[in-house]
């Protein structure tokens, strides 16, 4: 079927118009879908919970910044400078008891076995040491406040 040149041109003009309008409508639909997706998934930083916010960054930890104590062949790292300082002032035995029970999470009986002492002695050491630590740390924070 032979088409005349003018009707062929007319067909193309219609086709072109149709294609353009269809493409534009499709793009608008895409854009609205995109907007809906963003609305569903985007959250402002201020609306994030503390837990979610903490996932967004990491803090480097350097072992040189921590104080290192050696107890019965274990290396115990203490991150808090204040606690480390307080521990430093205790006698070695008392410090070991504290480190083993609170940093290595050992029971009094286990510590007693390791240190060749009686369990009640360890318990006594621990109680005394905690009181000492409390005094030392309260003293040093008071100084800071002054």
């Amino acid at each position: 079927m032979e088409q005349s040149s003018s009707s062929k041109e007319s067909t193309i003009r219609h086709q072109f118009d149709w294609i353009c309008k269809l493409a534009l409508k499709g793009e608008v639909a895409d854009y609205h879908k995109h907007l809906a997706y963003r609305q569903k998934h985007e959250v402002t930083l201020s609306e994030l919970s503390k837990k979610e916010l903490s996932k967004l960054f990491t803090m480097d930890e350097y072992s040189v910044e921590n104080h290192c104590f050696q107890v019965l062949g274990y290396d115990v790292e203490v991150k808090d400078a204040l606690i480390a300082e307080a521990l430093q002032t205790l006698s070695e035995k008392k410090r070991n008891v504290i480190l083993l029970s609170y940093f290595m999470e050992m029971s009094d009986a286990e510590i007693a076995r390791e240190m060749n002492l009686v369990r009640s002695t360890i318990h006594e050491h621990r109680k005394r040491s905690l009181e000492l630590l409390k005094n030392i740390m309260e003293g040093s924070t008071d100084e800071k406040e002054l």
Partner: protein
Amino acid sequence: MRKNCKPMNEADLLPFHIIEAASEGDVAAINAVLKHYEGYIASLSTRKLYDECGQPHYCVDETLRRRLETKLITKILQFKTA
């Protein structure tokens, strides 16, 4: 069939020589096509926005308008007149 369901005035269509030139990448012709669909694009990219008081405002979404323009240009260049 399309002509039947959507009567189109011939005068509303772009002249053939412009379509032909635009599809071959002629800048002036592409601009003419963009100009031709300018109003249609503007009406498609108009969005109803609400201010703090809840009053509706009609605004042209510039992002969408740019996207539509870009889409139109790609379609023009894809078009085969033959």
